[in-house]
Symmetry: C2
Subunit: 151 residues, 2 copies
């Protein structure tokens, strides 16, 4: 059935990253492939629905292994717990809502290379440029407009 093939795809990804294939790892990878940006606790909740005896620490362990091997990316926006996403390898950026902390992907920035070129490197060997756009998401704009109809 479809679930099995999906599990095999995920297992293959784990194997090619030289990771042992375990049920918690498949579950975590599956959850992250479905949803966008989840914190450890949300991943834990989702995982325990299919694998009830998984511990939170196992989730932390799995996430850390997946991040280290490059299968999952960890982002840490100010004011939120760490978030994990399965979209990887394209160094995309993020839009974060100042109000509700919702996160959206930003495919890339116009021009691209300017953002990777600081004017003064202070002797640093720069490896990546991480851009976070802070703003107000559409739902929060709507909610604010409702509270202040004419100001």
């Amino acid at each position: 059935m479809a679930e099995d093939t999906q599990q095999e795809v995920l297992a293959g990804r784990l194997r090619s990253a030289q990771l042992k294939v375990t049920a918690p790892r498949i579950a975590v990878l599956g959850v992250l492939s479905g949803h966008g940006h989840l914190d450890a606790d949300s991943v834990f909740s989702a995982v325990t629905q299919q694998l009830p005896k998984t511990s939170l620490q196992a989730v932390y362990g799995v996430l850390s292994a997946l991040v280290t091997s490059g299968l999952v990316r960890k982002i840490e926006p100010a004011g939120s717990p760490a978030l994990y996403e399965a979209r990887v390898g394209d160094n995309h950026h993020h839009l974060v809502c100042l109000n509700c902390k919702r996160v959206e992907d930003v495919d890339c920035v116009i021009g691209e290379s300017p953002c990777l070129t600081p004017s003064n490197l202070h002797g640093f060997a720069v490896q990546v440029a991480e851009i976070t756009f802070w703003g107000v998401c559409s739902s929060c704009q709507a909610a604010t407009a409702e509270l202040e109809p004419t100001s």
Copy 2:
């Protein structure tokens, strides 16, 4: 003496931000004007040298008041506690060492505006773009080179 005029300058900055002038606030502002990027605990250590009975919570309270009023900027690089800096109003960016977490300022990015223009806003009202450059600082490069002379 010079110290008094410096204190008056800091007091003036507090007044023009509509903040009451208190000894802990002047001390915190003074510490941040001298050094670069400090976490709450380092600010606390520096402040208690001139004002021994200041509490850590007071430092947190002062920092939060200064940040809210725009006199101090708070940055939260992944993997470090929050850092505070007195340089404010110019939306400069940061270079962070992947190894030792040292932070340096980046005056601005070549081109500047491209980095403020995401390709898809997802309905967000974007207010600021924050750029963090991750790399290895010169001291850590030197330390690594010493451990692996020819590889």
